[in-house]
């Protein structure tokens, strides 16, 4: 069974949640979800194995830091387990899970209320991310990457909650406009408008940063 999970995880890795990872894996995944729906905790553990990376990444992009993303990811899976009874097996599980992610992150952001903390280089070093790094070049490269991530978080912070969600799902998670609209429960026209405005704001922020450096 662990081999089976690893195979599914490999196939879903890097793909959109709503994308079919292949017929065999899809049917296996459907069977796992069905077992989990019937209250099989072991099966749900396999669902977590398949989706936790995607859930964490999306939550990180929505919330802007790892700690919040970790808390949100836990809440996403707990909520998914709680509401799994209402999930119809002919539905797209990924899309269903995205709706939960969006709701959980929205609740989280509302509760937090304060500005995002950035995943800074210092923070990551303190958290031990760079402990295993050996050379100075690696440290430097990671510092640049970390700084870029912080800038991206800062850029995403210039957006409204709705713009941010739409942009993250469309540009960073790779969902189509139609899928984003379905996840957010709004029209495609609204989503396009949010995406357009969000891209313009991100460009403005990047232009500002570039000018400051130049």
């Amino acid at each position: 069974m662990p081999g089976e999970v690893a195979e599914i995880a490999l196939m879903t890795e890097g793909l959109r949640l709503s994308e079919t990872p292949g017929h065999a894996a899809d049917s296996t995944l459907a069977a796992i979800v069905e077992r989990a729906k019937q209250g099989d905790i072991g099966a749900f553990e396999q669902v977590i194995d398949c989706y936790q990376r995607k859930v964490m990444t999306t939550a990180w992009r929505m919330l802007g830091n790892q700690e919040d993303a970790r808390d949100a990811a836990q809440e996403v899976f707990l909520r998914a387990y709680r509401y799994l009874g209402g999930f119809k097996l002919d539905q797209d599980f990924g899309g269903w899970l995205y709706r939960i992610i969006v709701n959980v992150c929205r609740d989280h952001a509302r509760k937090r209320g304060s500005p995002h903390r950035f995943a800074s280089f210092e923070g990551e070093r303190e958290a031990g991310t760079f402990e295993s790094l050996a050379s100075d070049e690696d440290v430097e490269a990671n510092a640049i990457k970390s700084q870029q991530r912080a800038l991206i978080v800062e850029a995403l912070d210039t957006l409204s909650a709705k713009e941010r969600t739409a942009l993250v799902l469309r540009d960073l998670e790779g969902l189509s406009t139609e899928e984003v609209a379905r996840v957010l429960g709004s029209s495609q026209t609204t989503v396009r408008s949010q995406i357009s405005s969000a891209r313009a704001k991100i460009k403005q922020y990047r232009d500002r940063v570039t000018r400051r450096r130049g």
Partner: protein, 235 residues
Amino acid sequence: MNCKRVEELIPLYVGGDIDRRVTAEVQSHLKTCGGCAELAAEYEASRNWLSGASPELDEAMLTDVKRGVMRELRTASSRPGWFELMSAALARALSRPAVAAALLLVVFGALTLWLYLAKPAPPVQVQLTDGGSEQPPRLPDKDEPPGHFKLHRRPTGAGNRHRVTIARSHRGQPGDPASRHVLTQNATAMPEVQPPSAFAVESGGMLRIDIQTGDPNIRIIWFAPKVVDGQQANP
């Protein structure tokens, strides 16, 4: 397509969010307009920059998330519910004869007390009056005690048809002077016509009875056959 329109469309164009026809128009404009082409390139770069640095997730954190979720789920599934806790407590209690006997006594006592305290509802006074057209049925006052009704009977117009209205009467005041009969009914039952002569009708058609309830907004209108108990009654 002019530059202004293209500038509006570029944020969507770079992500492939506009239809083919408009995309083709934007593309043909970009071929001829350097400024717009530069703007489109900047948007492209901005999009690439945004998606350039994905969050790095370390395995320890992922394991931590999974462990936390599973711990929570296992705790929740092993935690008995309220009903299960109560059932277990009751089963434990009933396994001891003395406790079971005491419980039975308590239940029996509670049942007896409840039966003793549950008295039948007080009877309702129903007054049948011939109010006439000069005295229309009165709506009940707020402070009026429940359970006291008047029946007004008055002609409804042509022919010999009468309108009978049941309205609550005031405590302490004597009934209307035209009052003829007093009927006593149970509060929960619809007042029956007793004796039949009291509700006699003189001609064909249905007898209409308006019942004004304690709530001034609720009035029950009831049509009854003119013949009561198979006999034509006297007026």
